[in-house]
Symmetry: C2
């Protein structure tokens, strides 16, 4: 577990240094936009998706330098989605990671453009990654664009989530929303590590299953944290899912069933890894970490 | 000129058929999002950027099938930028191309997500274009992401435009805003045709200069149309630049000087083409068309 903490810290340091290199300087025009990009990206995120791509990539023997730009790109997509999600017409949230959301600090128009610029920069980053062959880059770009868009990705899930607010949603419906809204990008982070490392198609399929389960696990524990933790610990408004009458696992199946569901998915995520020839201790530890996470 | 009209009509037909194939069906979940994507993309746009990539591509000998997906991708980026530009916190426009803007018809949250989904789909479309070699795809993706983002592209220009509203802007400042806000994507459309057709780096540079001038010409005539035409003809709110105290060429240098500037840029755009070995009648005609356009 101490090794895991060190792996997390090292990865965050590597990825943050790359994000700092990639995102335009605060002194470059238009300065407000670039300040807003940095405000949102360097706002104390956990970097879970970058950590996952590094964990899978290293499991399959990739070097840090092959992984770091795709990891930065995933974090840009994730950050842009949070900025747009927090907007007044969406979740209308003033606080994120313990400080003002992008639109509260820079205004709504700039926040919209900040998200738009981060999305474009994510694709630019992978397209220009000279450590990867063009064939690998176009595969990553195809996968990340699918995972970020609609109908099979994040934006599709956000729209479904929007339409589900205040409505009765079945457990099947919520699975699909989360599979798209958060699962698709997490699954992409996992397979990206295997693709970059040159994993076989069979290995990529195993990692895809693992990544999909990790995404489910992440969402259920996120929903649980929303009802069990305070705003102080989360660094964002707690209980807001309830206030917004959002479809969440605890609200549909109850807290104890949601915990049981998380444990079942965790067990499945780990067992799927056993078919790999590679040592996969790091991936097992990460699944355990998400199951028991407190923030 | 009759041939030019036929070339325009044929290109629009080809590109629209591809857009129809690429954008998720209105019956696919989330249906509202896909309806909104189609509402905005099939809203009577002139398809100027797709026409430009076809014109350059055919000048350099490319087949339609090599050009059509990149052309569709450019139109998706352009459409997403209009959707976000029309939002209440941005230009707050109710009418576009003679009908309700995306947020007026589908609500603000859906409009934000519609733009986001179109941007992702644009990159996916090029990444998955099997008619082009991976090397060509990553070059196009790098160029379009740069042209769409910040500091060297569209979003950077939109932010500068936002900050310039109601402020005194020098002619140099407005050049830079327009170079980024509309010029970068138009220049990309031009060079994309040459890149796809396998033009030399020297040819791509000539086309880049031509495309940059065409972008300037397009913006100046756009500004002029805003003050000289009615809303009926434009299909959008006329005189809104004046109402918003936007920095435009007519407002800074006056109408007659703006017309003269347009004529000078038109002459330069045409003269630059003379260094090409290829017959470039189509590109000359397009420059003439933009200079004298009425809508």
């Amino acid at each position: 577990m101490q090794d895991l903490q060190k792996f997390f810290a090292d990865t965050v340091e590597t990825v943050d240094a790359e994000l700092d290199r990639l995102i335009p300087s605060e002194t470059e025009e238009p300065t407000t936009l670039h300040q807003a990009m940095r405000w949102s990206v360097f706002g104390g995120g956990k970097r879970f998706r970058p950590i996952l791509i590094f964990a899978v990539g290293k499991t399959f023997g990739a070097r840090d330098s092959w992984l770091v730009r795709t990891a930065a790109a995933i974090e840009m997509i994730h950050t842009y989605s949070l900025i747009h999600d927090d907007l007044p017409s969406m979740d209308d949230d003033d606080m994120r990671r313990g400080r003002a959301t992008c639109h509260k600090k820079f205004g709504e128009a700039t926040a919209i453009l900040t998200g738009d610029a981060l999305q474009a920069l994510a694709f630019k980053t992978i397209a220009e990654d000279e450590d990867l062959k063009p064939e690998v880059r176009v595969r990553l770009l195809s996968e990340i664009a699918t995972a970020a868009g609609s109908p099979d990705g994040m934006v599709g899930g956000q729209q479904m989530d929007l339409e589900a607010e205040g409505r009765q949603v079945a457990a099947g419906g919520i699975d699909r929303i989360h599979e798209l809204k958060t699962g698709a990008l997490i699954r992409f982070a996992a397979i990206a590590g295997a693709i970059i490392a040159g994993g076989t198609e069979g290995e990529i399929r195993v990692i895809s299953d693992y990544g999909a389960d990790l995404g489910r696990l992440f969402q259920i524990t996120d929903d649980l944290l929303d009802v069990t933790q305070t705003s102080d610990i989360l660094g964002k408004t707690a209980k807001k899912d309830i206030a917004a009458r959002k479809a969440t696992y605890p609200s549909i199946i109850g807290i104890s069933d949601a915990v049981e569901l998380a444990e079942g998915i965790h067990a499945r995520a780990i067992s799927v890894l056993s078919s790999l020839d590679h040592s996969h201790e790091l991936l097992t530890e990460i699944a355990g970490f998400i199951l028991s996470r407190k923030y």
